[in-house]
C-alpha cells in the first residue's frame, strides 16, 4: 500500500538508532531548576512567587496574561532562590524563577478525576489550560487556544502528530511504545473537548513497532485510526501532516481549523490525559539526549527547568567529537552558546553533533539555479529566488514570492549544493519587511 504523504520533502539520515532502543527513564532530580515565565508563543506570565518562598511541585509560579498564554508551575519542591532574566535555548533572555530543589518531591494538592470522560468539554478544556499545556513538538503554542476554534470554523477531526520527522529525536516514539493507551486517552479527551468523533494518529513508517502499539491501543474503537506515513521530512509539519493523514489542503497563511482539523503532538496528548485524569500540570517532559557527540544517548523524563549541562552530564558527557549542542532537532533546533539553559515545555531533544557538517559562513557559494530547493519545498515556494532577493536587500520583491508562507523547515538549505544559508536569508527578509 502506498504510504500517505505530501509533495516535496527530503530524506536526511534519520539517526534514530542512537536512542530508539533506550526506554524512557526519569532524569536525576535536579539540584535547581530555572523556569522561564515565557515558554510558549504568546504573552509571558506574571510572576506569582517571591524570593525565599517555599513552593511545592505543581504550584503556580507564573499566572497567564490574556488568552494566548499558559500558566507555569514549579517542577520541583523547594525554595525560590532567584528571580531574574535568564537565557532561553533560543538565545533570548526571559524572566525566570530559580528554585532550589529540597528533594522532598512534595506535590501541591491535585484534583483527581477518575470520571474525567464524563466532564463537560469546557471543564476538560479548563483542566488543559490550568495545567499549562502547550504544543510539545517545539512551537509551544498554548493547547487550549487550538482547542477553541471559533463557531464559523467547525472542526471534525483531531490529528495526533506521531511523525517525529526530525532526525535523531525518539521522545514521541518511546511514548507511543511505552504508554500507548494513555496517549490514546489523551486523544479521546481532545476529541471530546472539540466535540468530534474522528481521531487520526499519523506515524512515519520507520516506526513499525510504534504503529503496531498504537493500532493495538485503538483497536475496537471505530472512531480512531492509525495512519502510516511515508518517512520524509517535514512530514510532521502541521500542513504536511494534515495533507497526508486526512488529505486536506490548509489554505496558504491559514490554520488547520480552516479545514476542520486540530493537530496535537503525541507528548501533548499524554500531558492532556494526565491533566484530565490527575489534574497534573505540565512540569516534566520526555527529552531525547542524543547525537554522535554524546557518550550514552538516552530518552529522559526531565523536569521543566532542568539545565542542559545536567542532562549532558547524566548521559555520560561529551565524546571527543562533540562540537555543537542543539536544543530541538537538527533541522529546526537552536544551537546553544551556553549549556546553562533550561529545558522548556517545547524542548524535544538535546543534540550533540560533531564538527563535520558544520558549514562556516565563508564557505557557501552562489546560487547555481539547480532548482533542487524548488523541487523539494513542501510549501511550493521558490527558495532559491527568496535567498537571492534577500541577499540583495529586495525584501518587498521577496513578498511576491510568498516569503511569509515559509515556515522555515530548512529542507531547502539541507539540499542546497552551494550550502547557501537559505532559511537564514528568508528569516532576514521576513524581519526586514511586513507581511
Amino acid at each position: 500500500m502506498a504510504l500517505a504523504t505530501f509533495k516535496g520533502g527530503i530524506h536526511p539520515p534519520d539517526k534514530k538508532e542512537l536512542s530508539k532502543a533506550k526506554a524512557i527513564s526519569p532524569a536525576k532530580p535536579p539540584k535547581r531548576v530555572v523556569i522561564p515565565l515565557a515558554q510558549h508563543i504568546g504573552a509571558p506570565c506574571t510572576l506569582s512567587v517571591s524570593i525565599g518562598q517555599e513552593v511545592k511541585m505543581g504550584e503556580i509560579i507564573g499566572t497567564p496574561e490574556g488568552f494566548v498564554s499558559a500558566p507555569v508551575h514549579a517542577s520541583v519542591s523547594g525554595k525560590v532562590i532567584a528571580i531574574g532574566d535568564f537565557p532561553l535555548p533560543t538565545g533570548r533572555m526571559a524572566p525566570s524563577v530559580v528554585i532550589e530543589n529540597d528533594g522532598k518531591e512534595e506535590w501541591t494538592s491535585l484534583k483527581d478525576s477518575p470520571g474525567y470522560m464524563k466532564l463537560s468539554p469546557d471543564e476538560l478544556k479548563g483542566k488543559v489550560k490550568d495545567a499549562g499545556i502547550v504544543g510539545m513538538g517545539g512551537a509551544a503554542f498554548p493547547a487550549h487556544v487550538k482547542l477553541s476554534p471559533p463557531k464559523e470554523k467547525p472542526v471534525d477531526v483531531v490529528v495526533l502528530n506521531g511523525a517525529e520527522c526530525e532526525p535523531y529525536l525518539t521522545a514521541d516514539y518511546r511514548l507511543m511504545l511505552e504508554r500507548p493507551s494513555d496517549v490514546v486517552e489523551g486523544l479521546r479527551v481532545l476529541m471530546k473537548i472539540v466535540n468530534v468523533s474522528k481521531g487520526v494518529i499519523g506515524i512515519e513508517s520507520n516506526k513499525p513497532d510504534a504503529i503496531e502499539a498504537m493500532q493495538r491501543a485503538v483497536a475496537g474503537d471505530s472512531s480512531l485510526k492509525v495512519c502510516a506515513l511515508e518517512v520524509k521530512y517535514p512530514q510532521g509539519a502541521e500542513k504536511m501532516l494534515i495533507k497526508a493523514a486526512v488529505n486536506r489542503d490548509v489554505p496558504a497563511r491559514g490554520l488547520p481549523m480552516d479545514v476542520g482539523v486540530v493537530v496535537q503532538n503525541i507528548g501533548t496528548a499524554l500531558a492532556v490525559y494526565e491533566a484530565a485524569r490527575y489534574g497534573k500540570p505540565l512540569i516534566e517532559r520526555v527529552v531525547t539526549v542524543t547525537g554522535e557527540g554524546i557518550r550514552e544517548p538516552r530518552n529522559l523524563l526531565v523536569k521543566i527547568g532542568s539545565l542542559v549541562s545536567d542532562l549532558i552530564g547524566e548521559c555520560g558527557g561529551f565524546s571527543s567529537e562533540a562540537a555543537k549542542v542543539i536544543s530541538g532537532g537538527p533541522m529546526m533546533g537552536f544551537a546553544l552558546y551556553s549549556l546553562d539553559v533550561p529545558v522548556t515545555k517545547g524542548t524535544s531533544g538535546i543534540l550533540v553533533l560533531p564538527e563535520e557538517g558544520v558549514v562556516h559562513a565563508e564557505d557557501f557559494g552562489p546560487c547555481i539555479r539547480c532548482g533542487r530547493c524548488i523541487d523539494i519545498c513542501p510549501m511550493g515556494l521558490m527558495p532559491s529566488m527568496l535567498s537571492v532577493l534577500s541577499e540583495r536587500g529586495m525584501y518587498e520583491e521577496a513578498k511576491g514570492y510568498n516569503l511569509f508562507d515559509c515556515f522555515e523547515c530548512g529542507s531547502c538549505t539541507y539540499v542546497c549544493p552551494s550550502k547557501r544559508p537559505i532559511v537564514q536569508l528568508v528569516r532576514l527578509a521576513k524581519s526586514m519587511t511586513k507581511p
Binding site: P12, D249, A252, R253, G333, A335, Y337, R369, C370
Partner: protein
C-alpha cells in the same frame, strides 16, 4: 569537568544543522565524468589533434579563470570544476582540425567574457561553452566548418576533409546521404557509434547516451529538457523533414546527428542558464527543439542546436517568472 571545559568551544550556527552531501563541485565533476565516454570516442575517431584540442580548451579555461580571479583578488574557484567542465564542453563542440589558437581563444571567451564578466558561476545569462563556440563560428567561419573524416587511427596527424551528415542532408539531400553511407541500417549504425564527421564530442550517440543515463540516474539532470527538446525536434523532423511531402522526414537521423544529443542532455540542461521550474523546463526544451529544427530545415546553417539553446537561454528568466510555483494551499486564496 569536561562539560565545562567544552563550553567555550561550542559552535553556534543557524538551523538546519545537517546538510546533504551534495556539493556544487561534486555536481560539476560528475557532469565532467559523464562526458568522458563521448570525449574518448572523439579522441578515438579524430586522433591526436582531437586530444590536443580538448586539452587546450580545458587548460585555457582553468588558467583564464584562475588569472581573472587572482587579478580581481577574488576567491579562486577553479577546483569547483565548473571552468574545466566549460572547457571540456567547448572542446567537444569544436572540429578536430582547427588550428591550436582556436580552442585557446574560444575558452577565454567562454570563461572570462561569458561567465566571469557577468559575475561568475551562477550569474551568467548564456551557456559559456556555447558562446565560446558561437564566437569562434562567427569569427572564423571557414576554420570552424572544416570537418575531417573519422579514421580511428590514433597516431595520424593529418586527415581527409569531408562534410557532416547534416551538411550533406542540407546541401545535397537525403539521397546523397544514403549514397555516402550505403543503406539506412549502415547510416543509423555509423551515426549511433559515432563514425562520422562532426565536432569532437558530438558524434558518438551511444557514448553520449551512456553519460546521459548516468546523469539521469544520479539525478543531476531531470528528463524534462532532454525529452521536450528531442521530442519536439523529432516531431518537426518527421512532419517537415521530408522532401516534397509532409510526414516523410526521418526523425532518427536528426536526433543522432549534429549536436542534438550533446545539446539536449549536456548543454541545454546547464542549471545556470535553463529555467529552474520543471514545467518551465518543458517549454524551454520545446523551444530549443523548435529553433534547432527551424535552423536545420529553413536556416542558413546545417546545424542549429547551438543558436537554439543560446536564444532560449535569453528566455530562461522570463520562463521562470511565468511558471512560478504555486504555494501550498493556494487554491482557496485564488477563489477569494
Amino acid at each position: 569537568m569536561e562539560t565545562a571545559s567544552k563550553e567555550h568551544q561550542l559552535i553556534v550556527s543557524v538551523s538546519p544543522h545537517v546538510k546533504s552531501e551534495e556539493t556544487t563541485s561534486r555536481i560539476m565533476w560528475s557532469v565532467t565524468a559523464s562526458l568522458l565516454p563521448a570525449a574518448v570516442m572523439g579522441a578515438y575517431f579524430f586522433g591526436p589533434r582531437a586530444v590536443i584540442t580538448l586539452a587546450l580548451c580545458i587548460i585555457t579555461a582553468a588558467l583564464s579563470e584562475y588569472a581573472y580571479q587572482r587579478a580581481l583578488n577574488r576567491k579562486v574557484s577553479v577546483s569547483d570544476g565548473s571552468a574545466i567542465l566549460t572547457g571540456l564542453l567547448l572542446g567537444m563542440n569544436l572540429p578536430a582540425s582547427v588550428p591550436f589558437y582556436i580552442p585557446i581563444i574560444g575558452s577565454f571567451v567562454a570563461v572570462v567574457i561569458t561567465k566571469q564578466l557577468f559575475g561568475g558561476l551562477g550569474y551568467n545569462v548564456f551557456n559559456p561553452a556555447l558562446i565560446g563556440r558561437a564566437f569562434l563560428l562567427i569569427s572564423f567561419p571557414k576554420l570552424m566548418t572544416i570537418w575531417t573524416k573519422p579514421e580511428a587511427a590514433f597516431l595520424k596527424m593529418d586527415a581527409v576533409t569531408t562534410a557532416t551528415p547534416l551538411g550533406i542532408l542540407k546541401e545535397e539531400g537525403v539521397a546523397k546521404l544514403m549514397e555516402v553511407f550505403g543503406d539506412k541500417i549502415n547510416l543509423y549504425t555509423q551515426l549511433f557509434v559515432g563514425h562520422r564527421a562532426g565536432s569532437i564530442g558530438e558524434t558518438s550517440a551511444i557514448a553520449l547516451l551512456v553519460g546521459a543515463a548516468f546523469l539521469l540516474y544520479r539525478g543531476y539532470i531531470s528528463w524534462h529538457i532532454p525529452v521536450s527538446f528531442l521530442g519536439t525536434s523529432a516531431v518537426i523532423a518527421w512532419i517537415f523533414g521530408g522532401k516534397g511531402a509532409l510526414f516523410a522526414g526521418d526523425p532518427i537521423v536528426h536526433l543522432i546527428s549534429g549536436g542534438m544529443l550533446l545539446g539536449a542532455f549536456f548543454m541545454a540542461t546547464d542549471y545556470v542558464t535553463c529555467p529552474s521550474v520543471k514545467k518551465g523546463q518543458l517549454l524551454f526544451g520545446a523551444g530549443c527543439g523548435f529553433l534547432t529544427m527551424l535552423i536545420r530545415l529553413k536556416g542558413g546553417y546545417p546545424e542549429g542546436v547551438m543558436f537554439a539553446i543560446l536564444i532560449m537561454n535569453c528566455f530562461a528568466p522570463l520562463i521562470d517568472r511565468g511558471f512560478r510555483t504555486k504555494v501550498f494551499g493556494a487554491r482557496k486564496e485564488a477563489r477569494k
